[in-house]
């Protein structure tokens, strides 16, 4: 069945692996740039999140009375519980980082242009789901930090144009931050959003398999997807795993104090790092901006920016160089704002 001279293995013959990878052998991708591996790295981090999240589910209790104590038990009592929680928390940060990196890479390579609009859109949906996972996950320990984050995050959502009020109540699971908020966040974090992410990821990958691409010219030196690209991807995965276990072993993700609605929020309260830039703008803006209520203006502007990002393949059909420069400037501004927020 195999062409002469093909080297296959015992396992490959019996599992049908050879048949599975044959289309990948024919397909070639560019060999340049580390950023080509970010998509695969994001996938791996998602899988680590799923695995460590399932493990946390064994001991976590989604209840305002018990949640904090159950996480405390995972951290302090269950063997390797602290390690597994650290893995979950660190991978989530790396997940967001690698997703952002992947997005930037696509923009800089102008890979959003036709005929890849659907890939771009599905990627944006994945980003939105990823942010939703991070938000809901941060609520679950029901620590003071989680409580404040749930309150502020859902309050900001109120200013989203048109959908604001609905989103505000939806995120809180009611009018106030209560046990319903926690229960809601839990359901979305462990079931709804991971399922949605898997679905859209499948769509994202199926779109990668577009037939026409096989014949599309590849810039620069190229390598076959299988085995070359996959092996390099596996090496990159190994590096990511090392990063995750190193961070998880040596840097604890502290739980903080339990949620207490009567506690005044300390002045060093900060959102997760990927929202620091927004925190900095909100914290340093005045009550009214251009005659509009401050948060309303800022959230509205952020939504407009988001809409521009979503519509990028349609706004920039030709792939102007200026788009890439604009993206770099934007990233630079966000980094500067975030660094300012930390000081």
């Amino acid at each position: 069945m195999e062409a002469g001279g093909r080297r296959t293995g015992w396992l490959a013959d019996r599992s049908g692996w050879s048949d599975l990878v044959r289309p990948l052998e024919a397909r070639r991708v560019s060999a340049t740039g580390f950023d080509r591996y970010l998509g695969g790295i994001t996938l791996l981090l998602f899988l680590i999140e799923v695995a460590s999240g399932i493990l946390l589910l064994l001991y976590y209790k989604p209840d305002t009375v018990q949640a904090y104590a159950s996480v405390g038990r995972i951290v302090g009592e269950i063997p390797y519980g602290n390690l597994i929680r650290n893995v979950h928390a660190w991978s989530s940060d790396l997940f967001v980082a690698s997703l952002g990196g992947h997005l930037l890479s696509v923009v800089l390579r102008r890979a959003y242009r036709a005929p890849y609009e659907l890939r771009w859109l599905s990627g944006i949906v994945l980003l939105a789901i990823g942010i939703g996972l991070a938000f809901t996950g941060a609520v679950l320990p029901w620590s003071q930090k989680a409580y404040v984050q749930a309150r502020v995050g859902s309050e900001l959502a109120r200013y989203v144009p048109v959908l604001g009020d609905w989103l505000h109540r939806f995120l809180r699971g009611g009018d106030e931050v209560t046990s319903a908020t926690l229960q809601h966040a839990f359901g979305f974090h462990v079931a709804v959003l991971p399922a949605a992410l898997s679905l859209f990821f499948a769509v994202h990958v199926v779109l990668l398999m577009r037939k026409r691409e096989e014949t599309a010219p590849v810039e620069g030196a190229s390598i076959p997807v299988y085995p070359d690209f996959i092996i390099r991807q596996a090496a990159a995965w190994t590096g990511v795993v090392v990063a995750v276990i190193t961070l998880a072993t040596f840097s604890d993700r502290l739980l903080g104090s339990p949620a207490d609605p009567r506690m005044a929020t300390p002045s060093d309260a900060r959102p997760p790092w990927y929202f620091l830039w927004f925190h900095q703008i909100v914290a340093s803006s005045s009550r009214d901006l251009l005659g509009v209520n401050g948060p309303k203006f800022l959230v509205g502007t952020a939504c407009l920016l988001g809409a521009l990002v979503v519509g990028l393949p349609f706004l920039d059909r030709r792939g102007w160089k200026v788009t890439a420069y604009l993206a770099l400037v934007l990233v630079f501004v966000l980094v500067v704002l975030s660094v300012n927020a930390l000081s």
Partner: protein
């Protein structure tokens, strides 16, 4: 059938109230009142609404008098616990409240200035009458006057000593507040200062030849410190001496005062050789070692043979007691060191970032066992102390075991990490080599 009756009562009450209100304007207009009535706040005039049956006409005149001495009681009274229609001015001063003129003063028994010796009787007139007090506040005790008469304060002031306090000296006169009010001078928060007002004043105390340093000593005592920190159990003057029945304590009774709170210490003390020995020599239990007003924290007292130890203050070369003291001191030191070592171990684990969920509980157990050491000192029995020390050691060992277990777990985790790291490195190298090999082969043009 009952509701119409009730309605009828309600209606008549409203009618009476209206009538009373209607009467007020003429009452205010009646006597010669210039500016003063305008300055009387509406709140106080409402407070002074006369009882439905008879108007409190004292206020209508006195509020407008020019002499502040005669006017002041009307405002002082308005914030008093006695601001009650059933008491009024006449509750104490008698007179005829229905007469809105100076004629009220001519009624039988009118008492404008009760003398120092009379005051206890005036207050007692109501406060010793259980039948009356029940209608005002059924929870208030009625025996204060009887207790006061038994106290030295009562005996002296009853005998005409105006320096000795009577009711009004502590409670106030027209402005009396309930003892539960934090503003009341007799409230737990203020009573020590109230006592000190006389007892810390050398001039006031000179005729009685009583020391005046008790308040200052108490303030720096363990009791005073605890009081300042807001401990609701910390005793002030009345905690030990009583209030109305205050009598000077004596050596024979002081242990009862201390033992009211320090029950276990007293019980153990009474089983000790000190109990008999103190009695024989007329030494006051508790006070002989701990002092009274300036009770120091127990942690500042030492058992042992050193010159600053409490034991050596009395025992200079009695062989048997000193041997026991030495043994006790050794046992205590051992237990303290052991507990400190356990605490240090847990703190070290915390610094290392180890999460030990059982650690706070284990340290609580250590602290509890340690707390039980002090009462046992009163037995002066090294054997009993050894039992208490063993409990501390056991609790400390349990806490330390948690730490060593966690540290062991951490070591295994770290070893596992380095093993995984080595494997990952191996994997990474083989994958890189493989990629390099594939690329090389392709360059050479091999399939």
């Amino acid at each position: 059938m009952r509701s119409p009756n009730r309605n009828a009562i309600r209606l008549s009450v409203i009618a009476l109230a209206l009538a009373a209100l209607a009467r007020q304007p003429d009452a205010a207009a009646g006597p010669p009142v210039p500016a003063a009535s305008a300055s009387a706040s509406p709140a106080s005039s409402r407070a002074l609404t006369p009882p439905l049956e008879s108007a409190n006409t004292c206020v209508t005149c006195h509020a407008g008098l020019a002499d502040p001495k005669l006017r002041a009681p009307t405002t002082e009274y308005s914030s008093s616990v006695h601001r009650d229609d059933r008491i009024g001015c006449v509750g104490c001063h008698k007179g005829d409240p229905r007469d809105p003129t100076a004629g009220a003063h001519r009624a039988a028994g009118f008492l404008p200035h009760p003398s120092h010796a009379e005051i206890a009787g005036v207050c007692g007139g109501c406060h010793s009458d259980a039948g009356f007090m029940r209608h005002i506040n059924a929870r208030l005790p009625v025996g204060q006057q009887a207790l006061f008469n038994l106290s030295l304060h009562g005996k002296l002031s009853g005998a005409g000593d105006t320096m000795a306090p009577t009711c009004s000296v502590c409670h106030g006169r027209h402005e009396i507040l309930p003892a539960a009010s934090p503003k009341a001078p007799v409230n737990r928060l203020n009573v020590a200062k109230l006592c000190a007002g006389c007892h810390a004043d050398p001039k006031h105390m000179a005729p009685y030849q009583i020391r005046t340093d008790q308040f200052a000593k108490w303030e720096r005592s363990v009791h005073g410190e605890a009081f300042k920190k807001g401990n609701p159990l910390a005793p002030t003057c009345t905690g030990c001496h009583g209030a109305h029945s205050a009598t000077p304590p004596e050596a024979s009774s002081v242990a009862r005062a201390c033992g009211r709170c320090h029950e276990e210490e007293l019980a153990l003390f009474e089983q000790s050789p000190h109990s008999k020995g103190f009695k024989k020599r007329g030494l006051a239990p508790c006070v002989a070692c701990h002092s009274n007003h300036d009770v120091a924290p127990a942690s500042s007292l030492h058992v042992g043979l050193t010159p600053d130890a409490t034991c050596t203050k009395c025992h200079s070369n009695d062989e048997k007691p000193l041997k026991a003291a030495d043994e006790l001191a050794g046992l205590l030191r051992g237990a303290r060191d052991r507990a400190a070592a356990a605490r240090a171990a847990v703190a070290r684990a915390g610094d290392e970032g180890l999460h030990i969920s059982g650690a706070p509980f284990a340290l609580d157990q250590v602290a509890t066992a340690e707390l039980k050491l002090r009462p046992v000192v009163h037995t002066l029995d090294p054997k009993r102390m050894a039992v208490a020390v063993a409990a501390v050691e056991q609790a400390a060992a349990a806490a330390e075991k948690l730490v060593t277990d966690a540290e062991q777990g951490r070591r295994i985790e770290r070893r596992g990490y380095y093993a995984a790291l080595a494997l990952a490195f191996l994997l990474f190298s083989t994958l890189s080599l493989k990629a390099w090999q594939l690329e090389g082969r392709r360059r050479l043009g091999s399939p």
